[in-house]
Symmetry: C2
Subunit: 777 residues, 2 copies
Amino acid sequence: MATFGDIGVAAAINIISALVFLIAFAILRLQPVNDRVYFPKWYIKGLRTSRTTSGAFVKKFVNLDYRSYIKFLNWVPEALTMPESELIDHAGLDSAVYLRIYLLGLKIFVPIFLLTWAILIPVNWTNNTLERSKENFSQIDKLSISNIPHGSPRHGNLTYDYVDYLFWAHVAMAYVVTIWTCFMLKKEYETIANMRFYFLQSEKPRADQFTVLVKNVPRDDDETLSETVQHFFLVNHHDNYLTHQVVCNANKLAKLVKKKQKKQNWLDYYQIKFSKNPLKRPTMKTGFHGFWGAKVDAIEYHEAEIEKLSNEIAEERKNVVNNPKAIMPAAFVSFKTRWGAAVCAQTQQARNPTLWLTDWAPEPRDVYWKNLAIPYVSLTIRKVLMGVAFFFLTFFFMIPITFVQSLANIEGIEKAVPFLKPIIDVKPIKSLIQGFLPGIMLKIFLMLLPRLLMLMSKFEGYFSISRLERRSASRYYLFKIVNVFLGSIITGAAFEQLNTFLHQSANRIPETIGIAIPMKATFFITYIMVDGWSGTAGEILRLKALIIYHLKNLFLVKTERDREKAMNPGSIGFNTGEPQIQFYFLIGLVYAVVTPLLIPFILVFFCLAFVIYRHQIINVYNPKYESRAAFWPDVHGRVITALIISQILLMGLLSTKHAVASTPVLLALPILTIGFHIYCKGRFEPAFTRYPLQEAMNKDTLDQVREPNLKGNLKGYLEKAYLHPVFKDEDYEDHYDDGSLVMPTKRRARRNTPSTSRTGGGLGPLLPEIILEEHKP
Amino acid sequence: MATFGDIGVAAAINIISALVFLIAFAILRLQPVNDRVYFPKWYIKGLRTSRTTSGAFVKKFVNLDYRSYIKFLNWVPEALTMPESELIDHAGLDSAVYLRIYLLGLKIFVPIFLLTWAILIPVNWTNNTLERSKENFSQIDKLSISNIPHGSPRHGNLTYDYVDYLFWAHVAMAYVVTIWTCFMLKKEYETIANMRFYFLQSEKPRADQFTVLVKNVPRDDDETLSETVQHFFLVNHHDNYLTHQVVCNANKLAKLVKKKQKKQNWLDYYQIKFSKNPLKRPTMKTGFHGFWGAKVDAIEYHEAEIEKLSNEIAEERKNVVNNPKAIMPAAFVSFKTRWGAAVCAQTQQARNPTLWLTDWAPEPRDVYWKNLAIPYVSLTIRKVLMGVAFFFLTFFFMIPITFVQSLANIEGIEKAVPFLKPIIDVKPIKSLIQGFLPGIMLKIFLMLLPRLLMLMSKFEGYFSISRLERRSASRYYLFKIVNVFLGSIITGAAFEQLNTFLHQSANRIPETIGIAIPMKATFFITYIMVDGWSGTAGEILRLKALIIYHLKNLFLVKTERDREKAMNPGSIGFNTGEPQIQFYFLIGLVYAVVTPLLIPFILVFFCLAFVIYRHQIINVYNPKYESRAAFWPDVHGRVITALIISQILLMGLLSTKHAVASTPVLLALPILTIGFHIYCKGRFEPAFTRYPLQEAMNKDTLDQVREPNLKGNLKGYLEKAYLHPVFKDEDYEDHYDDGSLVMPTKRRARRNTPSTSRTGGGLGPLLPEIILEEHKP
């Protein structure tokens, strides 16, 4: 039973660590040497460049201007001042909408906070159940629902009525919470659907607006796949069909190209080395990583290797293009108008609904090429398999971990590697190992979990990166509900819970959990502070990226291109980030009525995270794709899930308080919530999955006026838009192509200009003034 | 515990009653006076007419040809000889596919019958658990799984292994049953999807192929609704849009027209009366049903009334057409090609997905006009409301019935109507009332249930009769599972079961039911014989239709048109018939492994029902609509449900036999079945909900060749096709219009020809020869 004092100490620790992170960030970000770690987004956009040529040597690494240190929190207003419309231009709709999740949290929980503190806290406090019970209790429990007397009718009618009256306050508050949350959810869904339409309407013409991904094209012995596709669409969409590109299995080619790139990089490195020191031709060893083997002239060797690889690539490229087996049964089909593409994407083409599957094409950079060729039956089997696998992963993941833990004890290690015995037997090392070992496996597993879930999604065959991330996110959320939320409430491994639940009657389950909920409030408060406060503050420091960047810079970076690669701006990481936010929604909604004390801690998280992630989105993250907020239905659905869980648990909790009369009243809540969800699904979800014909027609008509010469160029653009990246551009890994048709090479051109020539240019109105100020020489 | 003897007696009784029905039918159907009861389908098709003018007077009513009585079962080969393709021409695809449900039953259960009798019956019989247990048991139980010894490991390893081996036979059989059922289901789904496509492809051009129903058209203050629709589709489907019809709220008009029809009928009656007896002008009274009031000349009175009504109708008609409030926000939009209609039906039109909702239009006669104007939000609310209502109906319907029953006892009646006391107190009457009263409320409720479910579906807002029937069918099936299947196994009202289940752990529920299953085998055998054998045989007799027809003929029929109305051919009644068949699938699958003895009883039902319903479909039923087998996904889904229920119950049963080892093996079955269902849903279901563009384009191209003049006439046809029936044709109640565009008036013309002129003509090649033979004068 934690007291206010305990929580105060924990809060102090976490506030201090958060502050340490923030101050460290404030200092580190001002050093020019870290510029690429803290402002990579601007580099990628070409609005900021390495300052390798100007100023004193020291100034290149350290910021000596003391004035800039005084305003160490001035990044906060910076992050907040950029208006949303500009943010959408700058970082894309996905990022802007992602930030709105935090805002949604504030919008939902601020009024709930005010109301519950005004009404429920006094009601809870003025009772004395806990004092009468003479059990151990803390002041925190006095503020929770635990302090309301049990309403047993056996105490006589008077007490019963009184008790009922008290719980009615909680029941009414549950209604208020539900109605308010639903109201905000609906408003937000509406806003974001409109934002999406506005974004689609104001976008430049882009390849994906005109293109449909066709999967499971049937093979024909008499025609090539390309001919089959062409004939089919010429017949069935003869007014609209424009062109198409078949998908090649270019995985081997991509590997070769990557290898060539590496060699090219080494060649550049040796050439720079040679140009700096023309007297000594660089040499190298041909063996494993240059450690042994014959000594050769490095430049000549690499030139020969690149030559060889170039030939191989040309060979393989010919093979991929000509070999019918390398053509996968999928194609990107482009249409003359958006209307034509919208029609094709939304309709069934062939009698057999597993052939000629059409879907709105993802952006070229969003395509996950490997999954384009999975046949239909295999997809069903994969889904079922992964469903089963995920079930076992969620409920039984503790079993192998426990098993490995039992092996990895001191004796086990000593047996396995007897020569380490003398070291292990040293007392402090021994206790260190014994202290760490049990937890370490679990930590490793939890770190690897998002990757594992992503692998599972990939195995399921989704064909765009955005879909993969969304799928992983929902699984990660489920995993968190079972193993973190339920797992913390009912201590015990998930499979033990499962066992309990299977052997318990259906309406006992919410009770079991409900009873435990008020007692765990302090645990979750601590959790919020550690994970939500310190963790989020830590995010802005980018410690891992910082260290890796400097390590790479020291040891690996040979050329400018390498430096750009080492920058690694990262992205929001929807698959891990969103489930984390959702977890706070869940805790917040569950405790809103039970222990309102917890709400302000969540509010702090939402505020802090909003500011920090807004900063990161503006300055750091480089989104891998633009899905135009396609993830919002998932976000909405998970808040609804949290709401329903909170309602059921409240029912369970109150039924243990003998306030049985409240159950039917509360029963209406989940039913209403589900009704609301069905309504929203019908009303708003299509905006995120389909392109209405009216919108498409509108946009087509607008384009005719705005870009009259587009029609002529369209075919030329679209013919190349969905080439496998390996064909398009050999250094495809870091290319920045947003699929826009009108200026398809503008940004690339700027980036490929030698760095000296671009320091002056390119600072558009997008760049906040503050950045200009900071980097005055 | 029923013995073989008991079952034999029950079988004898039911076989005899079935035979009585069949013989009665064989005799009654040969009487010309019953011709319209037993062959209405041919009358409606215009291939058979009343024989009022030829032959002797007696022969008009009674068949005196003794030879025809000898071959009293010759309707069976008649019913079976019509090939399926001809049956589709004659009665439509719906009816032909409906019969395939019975065939599916035979295809699934005949091999299961052979296998289980060859393997499980000997295994069960050669054990002696029941003999050793010294409890009461019957020979039937000896043939069921109950006779296999309990596999308790406590009996020592040898017994355990032996026992396990025995249950493996049952487990393996469960796998065989599942795999075979799924295999047959898949084959059947494929066949029927192909039949549907073939039917669509070979149909004559029909209005619904070119038309899309648009609901929730937004109101515009500056335009009429018709203009709004036209503008929208001219803009967004400018290449394809042809014409449209708005939907009017013509409910009041329909009422007036009906009233006029009645008066017209009376006028006809009086005119015939007058023409037969020209000396006496018929008179009538103007008051309530002609019982009192002033005496007037009937012909004049009716002529005046009709005149008045005609004016009112004209007024109302003008009102409906011109008053914008009478225009409902829905329209039938027709396109130039099927391709255009298919595109529009499958795509989202407007940004707001609750406006401009498009859906493939039902046939004109299938439209449920009243539901076309329900707004979107209301639909969601209605669905949630009906979901809740259905839940309570299913689980708590016994409560009001029990309540009314408790009121309706002898004392209650005596109190309410004291003057009846002397009659009630007579002993035989009293015992009769006491015997009947408790059951009678339940019987009335169960008779009214399908209507109640239909009302619920109507309230939910489905806009075609076929959808209404499908919806009612699924609810009726659920009701039957809970209240008949589970209700018979665990005796006790449904809400008591619910209570038990809620207070029981999740994995105890299948056990509870599993234990009871083998004991209830004899009950279900009796059920099959009463409901499936006698009930089905009774269907062919059409006793209710026969009596009502003759009563109407005696008292109400005044004109030829009245006689046609009195004929009432009825239809299959998908909403009650299909759940009944499904119930046999459920019982069959559940008992296939547990008590194989039950299977042949089900086989007899399927055979008998197939023959009888085939006869009825050929000769009697007149389908209200043609949905082109759109119900098959429901049929498939319910067999899958039955399969999963059977698997879970077998798991429960075996777990009580201590054959715990079998549980994980059996657990794979429902998972596989669900996987199979997901696969089938993706692979076949779209064939029943969407019109693939390739098919539409094909058919469009074919039409250009086959009906070159169609294109010119199309607009004229389509402009009138979806008028509210009341505008189209004043006696709309019995019109026979299948929506065909090419010969829209051919059949009507034939039917309206005076009866004398059409006895000779119209006997197409469709008419089986046997009917020609029977009716030689």
